[in-house]
């Protein structure tokens, strides 16, 4: 929005003739329009890419018929979805049935408002940006429960209840690991968080207090994966159990809205992970931050987010789905203790006088601890690999 | 144990209630008095020398033209996972109002097999926990595997038999539902012709 306001002020006589509220409104509208365009066109790309990735992993081609390499397939699908009749089953609560997908899309979309694409390209630089994203993220839960309840279908209700339980549970570890970053940055503003990480790869929060923040990143990623209802946490819409979960009764455009929301949430969650841990719009090498005098921060953020979206897809096409109780087990007995532990340790290290006075934590205690943890992780990984190899060997024998 | 031994053992225990042993046939069996089939079944499973713990198959057969007496038969094929021998029990029941004690308590699988026999033959298994139709719709009338079964003309108000009109047209040589396919396509596979 800052960039837009600056752009407006370049127009001769703008500042004198247009009142401030009007130009802010206009800038807000333009920013919203841009985000909306990005959000609604994005899934066209994601769906194509997801289908191609799935095809690659499953030893098949994926869409190949519409357009070269099937490039136009999702466009055709989108058009089909938009023109399909939206069916209202007789027993649904019509108002809630319509409001629910709108609410879900709104919840997903509002996350865009604070995503910092560059120091100036940000719809709104809220002081509580990180908090805002989390708060808005739960809005979609309300929409999902409404959808499930309004559908008047037992499967939809099951899906809604599962999603409510799941999102509420996984929000806690997500917030906890976010607090780790907020404590380090000392601010809830996403601009400030990215600003702290500027100046190259080694400044990313991912490496801070190595390996503590790596764990925090993994916790955050897992938790947001669950919040997006993606495999292995896709139990609210588990197609083999609940038919389609909360959107069983939806068709046509309303179904497309749920679809849109899912992919948008995926992007927002990945972008948040990128902002919090991977330097956001900051380039890994400072020299690559600008190309020909232009700040290519947005490209970096989107690239990082898409890389994480790819991991989402990768997991989806590899793993089976957890059961409800196992899902809760992961949230409350694995992720939550880990993130609590991280808060205590990182918080303690931050308030430790030596660190506060500039004691090089990373150089002394940190490296020792890092080395120990590294050894532990390596042996665990090796053990896991050996176990796995033995499984395969025994199976083959 | 050989079938003959099993037969002797059963006859020792149940006397005249186990009759008509036919142990020389390909699948040996004995005929048991209807009322005592549950007891015989329980004995077959419990006796340490028999341990026929597995009911392989429970089938009903309709024999309306049998010379000595028109009847239905219920056949129990048994198997032992302990001694690995096989045997069969048979029960003769009248064609109308047939009632047989259930053997569900002895072999769990009999539950569904008996429901099937009830569904398709109309044999009522006394003491069965859940004797409902199993394969046919709940509102079906009649028991179609009986030999005197004729197809109904209507089911729930829907005509399910071809009408006389259709039959006449078919007799005149009109084709129904054959589509564009010829009966003898040029590329018909003639077995053995490639040799």
């Amino acid at each position: 929005m800052d960039a837009l306001l600056r752009l407006f002020s370049l127009i001769p006589g703008w500042d004198q003739n247009v009142p401030a509220w009007a130009s802010i409104t206009l800038a807000g509208l333009v920013a919203a329009g841009l985000c909306l365009g990005f959000m609604s066109l994005g899934p066209v790309g994601y769906v194509y890419v997801e289908r191609k990735i799935a095809g690659f992993m499953q030893d098949r081609l994926g869409p190949m018929r519409v357009g070269p390499w099937g490039l136009l397939q999702t466009i055709a699908d989108t058009i089909k979805l938009l023109f399909k009749e939206a069916i209202f089953p007789a027993a649904v609560h019509k108002v809630m049935f319509v409001v629910a997908p709108c609410l879900v899309v709104t919840g997903a979309f509002m996350g865009f408002a604070v995503l910092p694409f560059s120091p100036t390209w940000q719809a709104a630089d809220l002081d509580v940006g990180a908090f805002y994203v989390i708060a808005i993220g739960s809005l979609s839960t309300v929409g999902l429960i409404m959808a499930g309840w309004a559908s008047n279908n037992k499967y939809a209700l099951f899906g809604a209840m599962r999603s409510a339980a799941q999102i509420v549970s996984y929000e806690i570890p997500a917030v906890m690991s976010l607090i780790v970053v907020v404590m380090i940055a000392g601010s809830l503003s996403l601009q400030a968080i990215v600003g702290e990480q500027a100046g190259g790869l080694h400044n990313w929060f991912l490496w801070k207090f190595f390996p503590l923040n790596v764990i925090a990143f993994l916790v955050f990623f897992t938790a947001t994966l669950a919040e997006c209802n993606r495999t292995p946490f896709d139990i609210p819409e588990a197609e083999s159990e609940l038919v389609a979960g909360f959107h069983t009764e939806y068709s046509g455009f309303f179904f497309a809205m749920f679809f849109l929301a899912e992919y948008t949430e995926m992007f927002v969650a990945s972008a948040m992970a990128a902002v919090l841990f991977l330097g956001g719009f900051a380039a890994p090498i400072p020299a690559l931050q600008t190309v020909g005098g232009f700040d290519i921060g947005p490209v970096w953020l989107i690239a990082k987010a898409w890389a994480l979206v790819f991991v989402h897809m990768w997991l989806r096409w590899t793993l089976p789905r957890l059961r409800v109780d196992q899902l809760m087990h992961v949230a409350w007995k694995v992720l939550l203790p880990i993130s609590l532990f991280l808060i205590v340790v990182v918080g303690g290290l931050l308030t430790w006088p030596a660190t506060a006075n500039g004691f090089p934590w990373d150089r002394w205690v940190g490296w020792l601890l890092s080395a120990l943890l590294f050894v532990y992780l390596a042996t665990t990984a090796a053990r896991a690999w050996r176990w796995h190899a033995r499984q395969v060997r025994e199976a083959v024998a | 144990m050989t079938p003959a031994e099993i037969c002797t053992k059963l006859q020792e225990k149940f006397g005249a209630d186990v009759v008509g042993p036919l142990v020389e046939a390909a699948s040996p069996f004995v005929v048991v008095t209807t009322e005592r089939i549950a007891e015989v079944a329980a004995f077959c499973k419990a006796d340490p020398a028999l341990v026929l713990d597995n009911l392989l198959c429970l089938s009903a057969v309709d024999l309306p033209k049998e010379k000595d007496q028109p009847r239905m038969e219920v056949v129990y094929h048994l198997f032992s996972y302990t001694h690995f021998h096989r045997f069969a029990l048979k029960v003769h029941v009248p064609r109308e109002g047939a009632r047989v004690p259930t053997v569900e308590a002895t072999w769990g699988v009999a539950n569904w097999h008996e429901r099937e026999a009830y569904d398709l033959f109309g044999i009522v298994f006394e003491g069965h926990s859940d004797l409902r139709r199993i394969l046919l719709p709940d509102d079906w009338q009649g028991h179609p595997l009986r030999k005197d079964w004729t197809d109904p003309e209507f089911y729930n108000g829907m005509r399910v038999k071809p009408t006389e009109q259709m039959a006449e047209r078919a007799l005149k040589g009109e084709e129904f539902g054959t589509g564009p396919f010829k009966h003898d396509p040029d590329n018909a596979h003639v077995p053995g012709s490639q040799a």
């Binding site: 292995p232 089976p320 059961r323 409800v324 | 699948s27 769990g108 409902r132 709940d138 108000g157």
Partner: protein, 395 residues
């Protein structure tokens, strides 16, 4: 309901549970017949308390095609195409079972050449069928990729079947006393390639991607435990029985088609990751069985090369009219022991009575025992682990 045909419900107990049957916190959930994971048109009624299932009751019959009635109205060889449609995922095994039963009635002994081809076809079919079983099982649990990998390899087996008899699903191949077609030239080589690729690529890939997966084990290992006693009482057979630790395989115990000439193991559930007889064990037995089938195929191919070629229709009777008698013959189909009870009255060319003991039917009848107290997601895992095919249950 709008005005329409009123259904005259004749039986008093009618269908389903009523509202009085459930407690205040419970709900009746009707799963199927149109449900993605009931493996066909199976309907299961559940009484659920939240995610927990208190009671489950399967309803079958949605795919009933009057197989047994049809059999009484066609001649003995004419039944074979109908048997193909019983278990449409493993048609070769069905027609083999029927052919064996009628051959016993007619006292025909097919030549070793025919028997060897039958063994090869049955084992290829077993691999193909288990590919579908394990693949869809993975899909039931949310893993989509293994399914497509396995179907890819099933395709190759179907290609061989198509090459041999012209059909890919319903073969009409095992005739009474013989086969419909001899194997084509190059058949042995093609089969060897399939087996080699299966051993080298598909099988390790399957174990790697699905069976060894931690989530897969967690989802299956402690779920749906069938004890030995329950399995025998409910006549569970095949992999379902062996998953409960009973090493009984008809190919070993009552060999037919010359199975006694082949060397193979009978895999049983080991209770590796939980109690014996769990979903994991049943599935594991299937996975290992595929490997054993590949072994049998290799040996049978060696045998086939050495055997003298005979006309595969040499002993096919012109007019099958057995003497009065009855036979109950079992064979080891991929889903368990498939039994045919065939009664001949000695006067007609059509069977007097044919009853099929379907392994899926008996497995499904034990379902309500196992499904008590599990979660909804486990219901899906359970159906998949019994590997039922509704075409065979409903006949």
């Amino acid at each position: 309901m709008s005005a329409g045909i009123t259904r005259p419900v004749t039986s008093a107990e009618s269908v389903g549970w009523r509202i009085d049957d459930i407690g205040p916190d419970e709900m009746i959930l009707s799963m199927g017949p149109q449900h993605p994971s009931t493996h066909g048109v199976l309907r299961i009624e559940l009484i659920t308390d939240g995610e927990l299932v208190r009671e489950a009751r399967p309803h079958i019959g949605y795919l009933h095609r009057c197989f047994e009635k049809h059999c009484e109205n066609v001649d003995y060889p004419g039944v074979i195409p109908y048997t193909d449609r019983l278990d449409y995922v493993a048609s070769m095994g069905n027609s083999l079972g029927y052919a064996l039963a009628v051959e016993k009635l007619l006292a025909i002994e097919p030549s070793p050449y025919v028997s060897t081809i039958r063994v090869i076809m049955a084992e290829l079919q077993r691999i193909a069928s288990h590919c579908v079983a394990v693949g869809t099982y993975g899909m039931d649990l949310g893993a989509f990729t293994p399914f497509l990998h396995l179907l890819r390899d099933r395709e190759k087996i179907l290609d061989v079947f198509e090459w041999t008899c012209g059909a890919r699903l319903l073969y009409n191949y095992n005739w009474i006393g013989g086969l419909s077609h001899d194997v084509p030239d190059g058949f042995v080589r093609a089969c060897r390639e399939i087996v080699a690729e299966f051993d080298k690529v598909t099988w390790p890939e399957l174990v790697n991607l699905l069976i060894g997966n931690r989530i897969f084990i967690e989802r299956t290992a402690k779920v749906g435990v069938v004890s030995r006693e329950l399995a025998i009482s409910y006549d569970l057979t095949g992999p379902n029985l062996r998953g409960s630790g009973v090493a009984y395989d008809l190919r070993k115990a009552e060999p037919y088609c010359g199975y006694e000439n082949y060397e193979f193991a009978v895999p049983v559930g080991e209770g590796k990751h939980g109690p014996l007889g769990s979903c994991f064990d049943r599935n594991w037995v299937r996975v290992v069985e595929m490997k054993e089938s590949a072994r049998i195929i290799s040996q049978a191919l060696d045998r086939l090369e050495k055997l003298e070629k005979t006309d595969v229709r040499e002993k096919v009777p012109k007019r099958a009219k057995p003497a009065k008698g009855e036979v109950f013959a079992r064979s080891e189909a991929p889903r368990g022991n498939l039994g045919y009870y065939v009664v001949a009255d000695g006067t007609a060319v059509n069977p007097y009575r044919v009853k099929v003991k379907s392994p899926c039917f008996t497995a499904m009848s034990a379902f309500h025992h196992v499904a008590r107290g599990v979660m909804i997601a486990d219901i899906i895992a359970l159906i998949g682990s019994f590997d039922v095919v509704l075409g065979e249950i409903d006949r």
